[in-house]
């Protein structure tokens, strides 16, 4: 289990996993919990130490961290333009949200004597990271509780007993905190921790059934980076069906068969109750979904109103949408990043440009429906798949996006225990994250390399992400099959 865990985490996380591995008994659980807090404090200390290193290790100008959307320098430039009574979107520097500019802008330019340059910003991002980790932990705990409940209702206690359920929430939180990608994105002053915070707020709200929070998070995330808009499907499924569960078909099947097989009337009545209870859970709760849509509408209007106030004298909302969403969708900036689109659009013939823009963006949308149909009982996992796909194909990907989906992936350590290629994927991630800066350095700074070398690492990275998504989806489907087999197998044994 630990071996598989390393696919997406560092060694410390693995150590924590060992430390946090709970057997029965409260003392061990307590120890595990204190271990979690210790690692959390250590991760914060590590971040602060990196922040205090001279010039933040120049991480804020790395192409992996600072895309045109997440770069703090561009944000500071936007703030400067706004301070000089110009539109923050004048020129092609800033493409983020005007609200983010209001919050982060003053912090980005404020200097404290004797302290690192962007100390306040760094602190804010560290706090955002901790919040993210806590949200992931909370999501993990509620997912695990629901999962255990479902296994119980399927009479599969032995399954959880056998494999030993890992505290996936703690593991995922620590994977998120100690993932080098997260650390680099946080210390490199990218705004992606804040975008991730909005996404996780939406997922947390949906998971816990807090409809207004879910709507707030979704609207904020969509407002800041457009791609989280596709998360509306997992959120609706979350709210409609509740957290992740084994396939719903199994539940009535199971209860029915238990009832049928048992001749005693007492037992029959008992199972009847269970069936009613389960059927209630299976039902799609339209009420909460309509509530969510209503809240989304309210929050949407509210955000639009706030944006309108802040960009009124600079061309209004249409200008804002053109400069933010338009910039994302038309891939105007061709500076290198870890994605594949920049080089593609630097090389592709101009008259095919529009066609490929449509193709690449539709590619994200195209797999949404099949995935939603197949994974509708697991909205949390569906959200992970959507996040991974969008971070793969978005116009300006940064490692902050990868950090988020790798953290969310660790929520499903129990379900994805039998994932294939996990060691290969781990090595691939390590290799690409080492090779990519080397190739970038050779091409940009030394002038001895070639764009193709750097692009090759980006291609390798895209392939790794594809394998990760495909294999995790496959492992999850296999897990569900296993559950089905386990639920039907005892029945078959009884019959035969």
């Amino acid at each position: 289990m630990e071996e598989r865990q390393t696919t997406s985490s560092m060694a410390p996380a693995t150590a924590t996993a060992t430390a946090a591995k709970p057997k029965t008994g409260t003392t061990k659980q307590k120890r595990a919990r204190s271990g979690f807090w210790r690692w959390l404090v250590a991760s914060v200390a590590f971040r602060l130490a990196l922040v205090y290193l001279p010039r933040n290790l120049r991480l804020s100008t790395r192409p992996e961290v600072a895309t045109p959307l997440t770069s703090i320098r561009r944000l500071a430039e936007g703030y400067w333009l706004k301070q000089s009574a110009m539109s923050p979107y004048a020129g092609s520097m800033y493409h983020g949200s005007p609200l983010l500019l209001l919050v982060l802008g003053p912090l980005a330019v404020k200097r404290i004597e004797g302290q690192p340059e962007h100390l306040l910003c760094s602190l804010l991002l560290v706090i955002a990271d901790i919040l993210n980790a806590m949200l992931i932990r909370a999501i993990g705990q509620s997912l695990q509780k629901a999962y255990a409940q479902h296994l119980e209702s399927l009479d599969l206690f032995n399954l959880s007993e056998e494999s030993g359920m890992l505290p996936s929430g703690d593991i995922a939180a620590l994977v998120y905190l100690w993932n080098p990608f997260t650390i680099v994105a946080c210390v490199g002053l990218s705004t992606s921790p804040i975008e991730n915070l909005a996404i996780l707020l939406a997922l947390f709200g949906a998971c816990k059934g807090l409809v207004p929070l879910a709507a707030f998070g979704w609207v904020l995330a969509t407002h800041m980076s457009l791609y989280p808009a596709i998360l509306i499907i997992p959120i609706i499924l979350f709210l409609g069906y509740g957290p992740d569960a084994p396939p719903r078909k199994l539940l009535p099947q199971r209860s029915y068969r238990t009832c049928g097989s048992s001749p005693s009337s007492d037992q029959y009545c008992k199972t009847e109750d269970v069936t009613d209870l389960l059927e209630l859970r299976i039902l799609f709760s339209w009420r909460r979904v309509t509530q969510f849509l209503l809240w989304t509408f309210i929050w949407g209007i509210y955000f639009l109103f706030l944006c309108d106030i802040s960009v009124k004298q600079y061309g209004g909302l249409s200008e804002m949408f053109k400069r933010t969403y338009g910039f994302i969708l038309t891939v105007k900036d061709l500076s290198p990043n870890i994605g594949v689109l920049w080089y593609f659009f630097a090389e592709v013939f101009d008259f095919f440009r529009d066609f490929f823009l449509i193709v690449f963006h539709v590619n994200i949308l195209f797999m949404m429906l099949p995935l939603a149909i197949r994974l509708k009982h697991r909205p949390g996992f569906l959200a992970f798949v959507y996040l991974a796909i969008s971070s793969m194909f978005k116009s300006y990907p940064s490692i902050g996006d990868s950090a988020l989906y790798l953290g969310v992936l660790a929520l499903f350590v129990n379900e994805l225990a039998e994932m294939k290629f996990s060691f290969f994927l781990f090595c691939g991630y390590v290799g690409v994250s080492l090779l990519s800066p080397v190739m970038h350095n050779l091409w940009i700074w030394r002038g001895t390399g070639n764009a193709n070398f750097y692009f090759a690492t980006a291609m390798a990275y895209a392939c790794l992400q594809i394998i990760l998504v495909v294999e995790s989806v496959s492992a999850m489907l296999n897990h569900d099959r296993k559950l089905r087999k386990l639920t039907t197998a005892p029945l078959a044994d009884g019959k035969s």
């Binding site: 000089s84 020129g91 092609s92 520097m93 659009f345 592709v348 070639n450 495909v470 989806v473 489907l477």
Partner: protein, 680 residues
């Protein structure tokens, strides 16, 4: 009147034709005739030519040709001009040009040794390549359209790629730093434009005598283009004369400024002490030609020799030393035997600059009229040094240089540094104010869009110490660059303390990445950042020549009397940009699409796989008895895309499936045929 002109031409025909002057004479005859016809239309068109020669401190000679053509108000559109080039007049009329300046330059003006604080440097020292600016008299919305049309017209007129200035990424609209005063001004430069004879020839065509007669006949192409600096300039001003704006007079000013090196082998190499004698020169040694008579159409046709005020001061010193020898003053007209140099011709007039900013001495101009000379006795001014003299030229208040900082192709910084030259003569009244004295520096910088400047990173240093930006910048206007749409423009006024030794400011930038089509053919050479224009609004170059009306006759001198602020251009910067692999578009497209296909295919495969069916298939495989039927069912399963359900019905189902398969194929073929039919 007509009779007279016919008479003149008849007389001219009687004379034997002597090369170029005959053409000019014939032209003159025709012109005088047409002038007689057009006299009712208002004022007279006039043309004047002048050549100014000036020895430079670094053993070079500056030659400044000045031609000015004026066309008075024209009542109607289709009027024919006597002297004024019709193409230019049409340009002005069509695009409503208020003012325009176009310059073609090769080489860089050396502000340290050729002077910066003087009229020629301020108005004729231009950045390398092409610089064009124009002020239009049209509503603000139409300015860009006028500019685009103008660039295309000029491109055709001067055989240059000025049309590249058409794109909105190539020109800027400075608001106040380039030229004071409101106006719809557009400014653009092409630093890499190569300048050659093909640009000079159309320029010369605008002159009434071309280069066949008069001063322009000196323009021998090889000797002009051999020079260290070559700047050919065309300036247009149209002045509204009537109240309703329909009539306007146009003044066309054409100048050619060259810095030449006299042929050294001709001069004596006698050394006087440690100083080497300056090389002596003459017109024929500089240009390889002599002026054989004047262009008859010119109102005035003069050659000037200018001695800088510092040179004059040195000469006076020398003279004071030689006073006992009884040498006459160089101020006097008969000075052919002054101790420092000898002129081959006696000047017609000596013009002294009055009101000079430097106390004690002032510049001197010797005027030579070309009218006296003809083909029989061509004019060849010679200048022979007798004593070695070292002098310096008038310096800019602050020496400006610009450079790049940083390495690598990802980011960098532009730095503009201003160093004091300890010239404070122009600030005599300001110095009286004491410590509060401020020196204004006006900076205008255009940055192409692929240099993405972070204006918030501006740092200002005065005397090496960083200071707050707001302390020193009095006024700033920034229009940030927009990718592939517009360049970035920075205009600002720095207020420096007068006693400043050095000042500088830096701006960080990121280098952009272009589409492969946007790279020029020699992409690895790098991209040019146009020069920054530095103006000193406190300092004005203006020469006064007294009230003796001599400047009224000569256009070049009246230009010298214009009150223009000191202006200098910085160096052009070469920025290397990262290049993608130009040979790989197909590979990149195919490989990327393959990766996308991999994603799509494998994910869809995972999603649609049904384990139950697979298990059933496996079961049926186990139960199967004969290997032949198993193979058959497998094959049909593969073809049909459906697994065989049971082994009992295998034979029947296989035939059924094959029937279904045939039906499917027929259906597809039918659709294809129908498609083919309807699409035709």
């Amino acid at each position: 009147m007509a009779f007279l002109s016919i008479l003149v031409s008849a007389l001219l025909l009687l004379l034997p034709p002597r090369g170029s002057s005959a053409v000019a004479a014939a032209a003159a005859a025709f012109a005088s005739g047409s002038a007689a016809i057009g006299e009712g239309g208002g004022g007279e068109e006039d043309f004047s030519e002048a050549l100014l020669l000036k020895p430079l401190p670094d053993r070079k000679v500056l030659a400044h040709f000045h031609f000015e053509t004026g066309a008075p108000e024209t009542p109607s559109y289709g009027r024919h001009h006597r002297l004024f080039p019709k193409s230019i007049a049409q340009l002005v009329k069509k695009f409503h040009i208020q003012e325009m300046e176009l310059s073609f330059t090769q080489g860089r003006w050396n502000y340290e040794s050729w002077g910066g604080f003087e009229p020629i440097a301020s108005s004729n020292a231009k950045p390398p390549g092409v610089e064009l600016w124009a002020v239009f008299d049209v509503p603000p919305d139409d300015v860009d359209a006028s500019w685009k049309n103008l660039t295309h017209s000029l491109s055709g007129l001067f055989c240059a790629s000025i049309n590249f200035l058409e794109s909105s990424t190539a020109y800027a609209a400075p608001e106040w730093s380039f030229r004071p005063g409101p106006g719809s001004l557009r400014y653009g430069t092409l630093p890499r434009e190569a300048v050659c004879t093909e640009n000079l020839t159309p320029w010369l065509k605008l002159l009434p005598c071309r280069d066949k007669a008069g001063i322009s006949s000196l323009m021998d192409r090889p000797s002009i283009y051999r020079g260290f600096y070559h700047s050919q300039r065309l300036r247009l001003r149209s002045v509204k004369t009537s109240s309703d704006g329909t009539h306007s007079s146009i003044i066309l000013e054409q100048t050619l400024t060259v810095v030449l090196h006299p042929n050294i082998q001709k001069t004596s190499t006698v050394n006087y002490g440690e100083n080497k004698l300056q090389p002596s020169w003459s017109m024929s040694s500089l240009f390889g030609r002599k002026i054989g008579g004047t262009c008859l159409l010119a109102k005035s046709s003069n050659v000037y020799l200018q001695l800088d005020w510092d040179l004059v001061r040195e000469l006076k010193h020398l003279q004071n030393g030689n006073q006992e020898l009884g040498v006459e003053s160089i101020m006097e007209e008969s000075f052919l035997s002054n101790p420092a140099f000898v002129l081959s011709d006696e000047p017609d007039k000596v013009i002294n600059e009055v009101n000079s900013r430097s106390e004690g001495s002032s510049a001197i101009l010797y005027e030579f009229s070309v009218r006296k000379h003809s083909d029989l006795g061509p004019f060849d001014l010679g200048f022979t040094w007798k004593t070695p003299i070292v002098w310096s030229c008038s310096q800019l208040p602050l020496r400006v240089s610009r450079f790049l900082m940083g390495s690598g192709n990802e980011r960098g910084a532009i730095a503009i540094s201003l160093r004091s030259t300890r010239v404070r003569e122009g600030l005599t009244n300001a110095q009286a104010m004491g410590e509060s004295c401020k020196l204004d520096v006006n900076v205008f910088q255009v940055v192409p869009w692929y240099i993405k400047v972070y204006f918030h990173t501006m740092k200002v240093f005065v005397d090496g110490k960083p200071i707050a930006v707001s302390d020193i910048i009095e006024k700033i206007h920034v229009s940030p660059s927009e990718d592939k749409v517009s360049p970035g423009v920075l205009e600002m006024i720095l207020k420096l303390p007068c006693r400043v030794d050095s000042a500088g400011f830096t701006l960080e930038f990121d280098k952009g990445f272009l589409h492969i089509d946007e790279y020029p053919p020699d992409a690895n050479q790098g991209f040019d950042i146009p020069p920054a224009v530095i103006t000193f609004p406190n300092f004005h170059v203006k020469m006064h020549f007294g009230e003796d009306n001599s400047s009224k006759q000569s256009a070049v001198l009246s230009r010298f009397e214009d009150n223009i602020p000191v202006r200098s251009y910085t160096e052009v910067l070469l920025v290397p940009l990262t290049t993608p692999d130009f040979s790989m578009p197909y590979n990149v497209i195919t490989i990327t699409c393959t990766v996308f296909a991999l994603y799509f295919g494998s994910l869809l495969n995972v999603l649609r796989r049904r384990v139950n069916e697979e298990e059933r298939f496996l079961k049926s495989k186990d139960k199967r008895s004969s290997p032949l039927s198993r193979l058959h069912s497998k094959l049909s399963a593969k073809l049909g895309g459906k697994p065989v359900v049971t082994s009992q019905s295998s034979a029947r189902s296989s035939s059924f499936i094959s029937l279904k398969l045939i039906l499917k194929i027929i259906l597809v073929a039918g659709i294809a045929i129908a498609w083919q039919y309807f699409s035709e």
